[in-house]
Symmetry: C2
């Protein structure tokens, strides 16, 4: 370990959490988080519904991201004590503001990442197809 005096492994968080932007990058520099928020922007969803919408994602991964988002106060977990159990996740006021970021992302994507460039990797990405996320005017 000498290439630059690194200390932690996976220093992806290097330019890390010291600055707000750094934290934002660290948080949103995660596809899952982005995807989850994106879906939640369209309304509350239940655990498995969210999973289905996301396509392939293990319950483990989904649970961890949801927990993270909840801890940060961007997502509100609402559990109904019934049988079978039902849990709905919905964005909080703060969380909904992530819509701005998603919107920027979408605008950028539509403008420069329209089906043309970029190597096609997945073919059955039906999850988000069709129903245009329509994040745009979330407020």
């Amino acid at each position: 370990m000498k290439e630059s005096e690194a200390k932690h492994p996976t220093d992806t968080h290097q330019a890390c959490a010291a600055t707000p932007l750094g934290r934002a990058i660290h948080l949103l520099g995660d596809s899952w988080v982005l995807l989850i928020v994106m879906n939640l922007l369209q309304g509350p969803l239940r655990f498995n519904m969210l999973r289905a919408t996301l396509g392939h994602i293990s319950s483990k991964t989904l649970a961890s991201r949801l927990r993270l988002l909840e801890e940060l106060g961007f997502v509100q977990r609402q559990a109904f004590l019934e049988i079978p159990p039902r849990v709905e996740y919905h964005l909080t006021e703060k969380g909904r503001e992530l819509g701005d970021v998603i919107a920027a992302l979408e605008r950028f994507g539509n403008k420069h990442l329209s089906d043309s460039v970029v190597s096609p990797t997945c073919e059955e990405c039906i999850a988000l197809d069709g129903e245009a996320p329509a994040v745009k005017d979330v407020r």
Copy 2:
């Protein structure tokens, strides 16, 4: 492998590259890319300069991200045939538009991720400190 008929490993690209937004998420769902672009927004930088600015990042990782960004046409690689070699990376017109996303990210960070919540992880994150990225309209 049965939890949802996944086919590829690391299906992070699941809600994948089928839609522009999906691709944007896939691309920007990477801290390094975000960080690199952020720094490049302030002006062209040379390979090692960029590395230094980013804090800890291996040449391998940096090179791969730069290559990716270059292939997508967001970064322009300009090599000077001299000795010692000099290579400057600067954002293209398209790449500069990523500033909008970064700006949204920054706005969000300043608003909801200001030093308070979030577990402090790194202490010497001086890389981005001080000189506020000044993406432009920090609001």
